[in-house]
Amino acid sequence: MTLLETRGLTRHFGGLTAVDTVDFQLPAGQVHALIGPNGAGKSTFVGMVAGRIPASAGEVWFDGADVTDLPAHARIRLGMAYTFQITAVYARLSLFDNVALALRQRSEPDVLAALDRVGLADRSAQIAGDLAYGHQRLLEIAMGIAQQPRLLILDEPTQGLAESEIEGFNALISRLRAETTILLIEHNMDVVMALADVITVLDAGRVLASGTPEAIRADAAVQEVYLGAGHAQA
């Protein structure tokens, strides 16, 4: 079934059209990567899906219902989870408090279990801002997963992570694919190729191509836009 759908989704900023009448479909259970050059409109698109950014035109449908007019917090309650491009955790609160807010309750076993999924359970008392950047990203993902979302939206999750951390991330996502549908924006082509079931390429606010990793890798238009698709861009 189609979990997420956008119809003619558009966003203008003054004279600039950042996202241009994008039709998009995401079936439940899929891992879907959104790629494209800088300024292609990926974060704006995903922001409109989650409700952070209001749409200039078009519709967003989630789980068979029109959520276009629904505020962001209501969409989250319907089953979306969202991680920011620049990590947004509560830097002055402990890891425990961070996850408790995501879980909406403070039962110790539940909070520790959620932290354990990303291997941070032993640090639950630490202050989030004191963590290394890579671990803060993991914390944010843990908070996303803790909500048990239908749709997990990740905006450039591996940015700023070291190689070993990226491997851990790939493993984590592989374990998650059974539980939730994942939509991620990524620049790292190795990650994309390893994880994605389907890739959509955005350029200048429009969908350039959409298909399996192999199809995208072979697509001439995509190659032109990237000047050599398949190379890692970190």
Partner: protein, 314 residues
């Protein structure tokens, strides 16, 4: 011992000490402390919005005075007895908070500060404009005869002190408990990172709205109590000064701590008491302390204590 238990013990211990002081202090200081306790209640109300939710209002005097004038006008013009008049004062401030919240919460940061300041100024000027009823700057006195509850004379120093302590204790325990509950946790989350909180599924506007109403109503209760216990209602309490005071008390005592408001109100009271014996320009001290606090000690007294020694401090 769990944090919640330590916290409860701390608060009950404090209340017990204050109770004892009611019997130990000489009348002059007992009267001062009664005043401080009511003003500390005002500060607790302000702390809910500023310390916990992170919204800096420059107009809380309108809530304080709404309570005071709600009670005062009801008693003075309507002959309403003390307890119903107090309820009227509280309701007046609650309604005003809701109305202000609906408008002011459409703004953020500096704009929010100015909007609250402007609303409060309009309130102050309105009190002056309708001087025929409010007696404006001069204000009016609530005679001893009406200031009694269930046969107890509120002008009697001990009764007055214990009533003030009752008000303060209720405010302290209620807000402390509130901050331990989910609602309180979300307020802190809103303060720390508003967008993150929205994207975790919380209705930030609703939380802020309730915070403003709770904050304004506590402030109004303090205002009504102040008029009732000390027998005077005047426009000064609606002026900018009385919006700056709670900011100063909370900053000095420690924003976002439960005891900070009392500590700040206490020190400021005696600081000004001392300064005004030296010069009529005692507000200079207020200005100086504000600048020094914002430069060097933004966490305030209890905030520093929490940072350095007692991380569990609520």
């Amino acid at each position: 011992m769990s944090g919640a238990k330590k916290s409860l013990l701390l608060h009950l211990g404090l209340i017990a000490i204050l109770f004892a002081l009611g019997f130990l202090l000489p009348v002059y200081h007992q009267g001062n402390l009664a005043r401080i306790l009511v003003l500390a209640t005002y500060a607790i109300g302000y702390n809910v919005l500023f310390g916990y939710t992170g919204l800096l209002s420059l107009g809380h005097a309108m809530f304080f005075s709404a309570g005071m004038y709600g009670l005062g006008l009801a008693m003075h013009h309507g002959g309403v007895p003390a307890v119903p008049a107090f309820v009227i004062g509280v309701i007046a401030s609650a309604l005003l908070s809701a109305a202000v919240a609906v408008l002011a919460l459409r703004t953020l940061g500096v704009a929010f500060m100015i909007v609250t300041l402007m609303f409060a100024q309009a309130g102050f000027l309105t009190i002056l404009y309708f001087g025929a009823w409010t007696r404006g700057d001069e204000g009016f006195v609530l005679p001893q005869a009406v200031r009694e509850v269930a046969g107890l004379d509120l002008t009697d120093p001990m009764t007055r002190y214990m009533t003030a302590l009752l008000l303060f204790s209720a405010a302290l325990l209620v807000t402390a408990r509130m901050m331990q509950m989910r609602f309180g946790n979300v307020l802190v989350a809103v303060r720390e990172n508003e967008e993150r909180t929205t994207m975790l599924g919380y209705d930030v506007f609703k939380h802020k709205f309730v915070a403003v109403v709770i904050s304004g109503t506590l402030s109004g209760a303090a205002g009504a109590a102040y008029g009732l216990l000390f027998g005077y209602v005047g426009a000064t309490f609606a002026s900018v000064q009385y919006s700056i005071f709670p900011l100063l008390w909370v900053l000095l005592g420690g924003a976002g701590t439960t005891i900070g408001p009392l500590v700040g109100a206490f020190f400021t009271f005696y600081l000004i008491d001392y300064a005004s014996s030296l010069t009529s320009a005692y507000m200079l001290i207020v200005g100086l302390v504000l600048v020094l606090l914002i430069l060097f000690a933004r966490a305030g007294i209890m905030g520093e204590v929490r940072k350095r020694w007692a991380g569990w401090l609520p």
